[in-house]
Symmetry: C2
DNA sequence: TCAGGTGCTGACCGATCGGTCAGATTAGTG
DNA sequence: CACTAATCTGACCGATCGGTCAGCACCTGA
């Protein structure tokens, strides 16, 4: 029905984002997405090579920002300054892409083990290292992990809180919660 | 093979815990569990009504402790003392049952929407409220959410850190990270 | 007018899921 | 021995999954 024109690609992407946000990646079937768009499942797979390709395209901008943050962190010589850059950069990223992060809905660990997402695992580990001020103390790494996982899990909730207020709250939390460099 | 005797029930439970811990609840099939035990899938379903029943029995002790913590929190008249009881109780619970919590592997949100786990959602919300020192300020609730989700996500990792060290690190983090009562 | 490309679809595929069921095997009891 | 009840299993079920494919309708340009 209705001449859809080639904007279908974008419609599928938007519909997938909506569905992933509600039922998660694994919990959303291609049929679900097709139903939301109003096309057939075959049409979805005409525009995207497979299901993972939809998620990849959806997450691409956020991943690119994460990658550039990783570079900025690596360029910092001092643990203390790297920690600051990591905290500010991560909170900024989490707030800016909170919709995208939310749609992972806790499936982050499972997705990381999948090929094509393996390099993100490395980025996360380096981010963790920077947040722990490159310390090997267990307490420092534990605190960094709690905050990393917690912020990622949180930013999707509180959809009613404006970006700036959310960013300020998260940044204030990280500042008082992270252990300072040795 | 091998006369298994009625200890099979416990073996299935242990195997399920191991598998859930690796691939998560949804990512583990009854066939996987049966394979780990060395019995047939039908045997698993002879000992348990269905897949959810395995998870329920596995989580029962942790849920019972959470329920009793909820009562202790509710009995505290002051927000400040309720916050302290909530923080200490939650960290203690997270560390004691870290294996059980780990096997949820971020599927917590999805599981909560399932009947039979709905009441845990309420317990979590009341715990969040106490950690936020019953404040309605967005920053307080955001901090409480980050720490709640973060600790839950964290305690499964760091399996090599002893209970006491993990508990001390988490408690110290919560003490400096939570906003004090108004 | 017609050939060819684009967008799209219904029908279908093999795999896997949770779950059922009739029946085989075993252990205990009289 | 016979009988019963508990334990266990292979075969099977319907549903759903991601993905494939031949072909239909439409548009465009030669």
């Amino acid at each position: 029905m209705a001449r859809t024109t080639p904007q279908t690609h974008g419609e599928i992407l938007a519909a997938a984002a909506r569905r992933f946000g509600v039922t998660g990646y694994r919990g959303t079937s291609l049929q679900d997405i097709a139903g939301e768009v109003g096309c057939s499942k075959a049409t979805v797979l005409y525009h995207f090579a497979n299901k993972e390709a939809i998620l990849t395209e959806l997450m691409a901008p956020a991943i690119e920002v994460l990658r550039s943050l990783d570079e900025r962190i690596a360029a910092e010589p001092e643990p203390a300054s790297a920690q600051r850059v990591a905290a500010e950069g991560f909170v900024d990223l989490a707030v800016r892409f909170r919709a995208e992060i939310a749609l992972l809905r806790g499936e982050f660990p499972a997705l990381m083990q999948q090929p094509g997402f393996a390099h993100i695992q490395q980025l996360s580990e380096r981010l963790l290292d920077a947040l722990a001020a490159r310390s090997t103390r267990a307490s420092a790494r534990i605190a960094a992990f709690v905050l990393l996982a917690g912020v990622a899990e949180t930013c999707g909730e509180f959809a009613d809180v404006p970006d700036e207020e959310l960013r300020d709250a998260l940044l204030a939390l990280l500042r008082r919660a992270l252990e300072p460099a040795d």
